[in-house]
Amino acid sequence: MSTRNILDWLEEAVALAPDAPAYEMPGNVLSWDAVCRKARSAGTALARLAPRQTPVLILMDKTPECVCAMLGAAYAGCFYTPLDSGMPEARMKRIAERLQPSVILYGDKYAGVAERISGEAKLLNAADLPEETDLPLLEGRRARHIDTDLLYVLFTSGSTGTPKGVSIQHRAVVDFIEWACSALRLPSGVRFGSQAPFYFDNSVLDLYCTMRMQGSLVLIPRGDFMFPKRLLARLQEERIDTIFWVPSALTALARAEVLQPGCLPDMKRIFFCGETMPCGTLNGWKQAVPGADYVNMYGPTEITDVCSWYRVDRDFADTDSLPIGFPCTNTRIDLIDGEICVSGTCLSPGYYNDPEKTAAAFVQHPLRPQIPEKMYRTGDLGAYNDRGELMFLGRRDSQIKRSGYRIELGEIESALQNADGVVLSCCYFDEGKEWIVAAYTGEAEETAVKTALKAALPKYMLPDLLLKRETLPRTGSGKIDRKVLRQEAESEHLIH
């Protein structure tokens, strides 16, 4: 029987490799059997509190237990939203208001914040999950499952200041993971080293390819990524053979000059997605790990992590651009006025509880007018090279990527606008320096504006330079002109 629910893979892993390590971090290894037991007990507790197909907000650190909580939501027939515990409470609250979770499942140290953002939601402390499993309850939920049920909702920056909740169905994840395991030639027992946070969709590949192949996923402590030597030692000690990281994490390690030929004898597969991969970084890695498979992937959260891929099959100069290649199975990519447009099984059915934004981004496929078929407009620009490979050319709007994080400059401007004493605001991104530069007019003092921004935005969105101006430049149509602001800032030698 074909897979309809990601839990089918979990149960297969339990049958085939019950005692093998599944999800682990240093000092805390859970076997497939343990993962399944913990997921079922979380599912039991959740099913007692939450109706089928309602949202479960998860506020926990990145631990094996957090994975069990997410899978527990699936056992209860619900869907999960892992939240970045580091984001400001005001933003968490806006997400909770949009999501209207039936339950907030939280780690002990987030009890206060969970309570404050809870609204109508019921609260469940992860430390209070029962040991027992009510199998008939879970089987009842499972019997009603269909593959268009939601598995998760991940929130991403929204241009008007409110994050958008991308909802993803089981069938999209099943389709994606079956493609990934075969296209990426993953062996059973694959050993992944995880970099992506669970609230970032690259983690979907990590989590479910591991499950599908009865492998293991080492949750690398976040702090390791700050220290190249420590990170390298972790990859060596844990004998990681596969990584799927944002290019900035790979670049940091390559630039630190700690990679030496032969330094990672176990490493077989190096995959990347989430932002443009510089060929200089790729070449640095290829020198150190020459035998590995290198695959560049591309895709926004709305199409389930990845919609196109390119296996590196030739050499590139440091200054070349790497192709994003070809569509995945069951995925169609059309270039419409140069914009990358995606349709197929991978598509999100829409932004959760947000019909307006859904209608704007998920549109009727213009080349298939005879039947209703949705197409997602990525906002990314693309073109084909001479070899017929798709190339990524940039954005058509003001969305940026910094350290792999997707940021709408509009969300930063909206936070500025909401600060007391700010009249007008504008931001731009300096790609060379990786700086967000923000300017505003009004009475407000810079320190007060900075404090207001910190309370509203996650750290990776905070401007690196804040300018108080008398006026802001305008375009002919009266919009604030980011390009002219940039020229002004650069000509005044504020940026050099």
Partner: protein, 78 residues
């Protein structure tokens, strides 16, 4: 301004909400994250005209104010 004051000023440009003098485990306690660290290194590079090689970025060098001062002195041109 003495070296210590310049160091504190450079650090406060990155994080004005941290009392750097009072903390003994800035990294190990998770007070500083990777974004902070990147910015601190850039800020120190600029304030002291030094270059801290990325391979030498070790937690011990960033855990306390004294450790950072010592590191800055190591990398200052003679």
């Amino acid at each position: 301004m003495d070296e210590m004051s310049r160091l504190i000023a450079a650090l406060e440009e990155v994080r004005d909400d941290v009392d750097f003098a009072a903390e003994a485990h800035l990294v190990e306690d998770g007070i500083l994250d990777s974004l902070d660290l990147t910015r601190i290194i850039a800020s120190l590079d600029e304030a002291f005209d030094i270059h801290i090689p990325a391979g030498e970025i070790e937690p011990e060098n960033f855990d306390t104010l004294d450790a950072m001062l010592e590191m800055v002195r190591r990398y200052r041109k003679p």
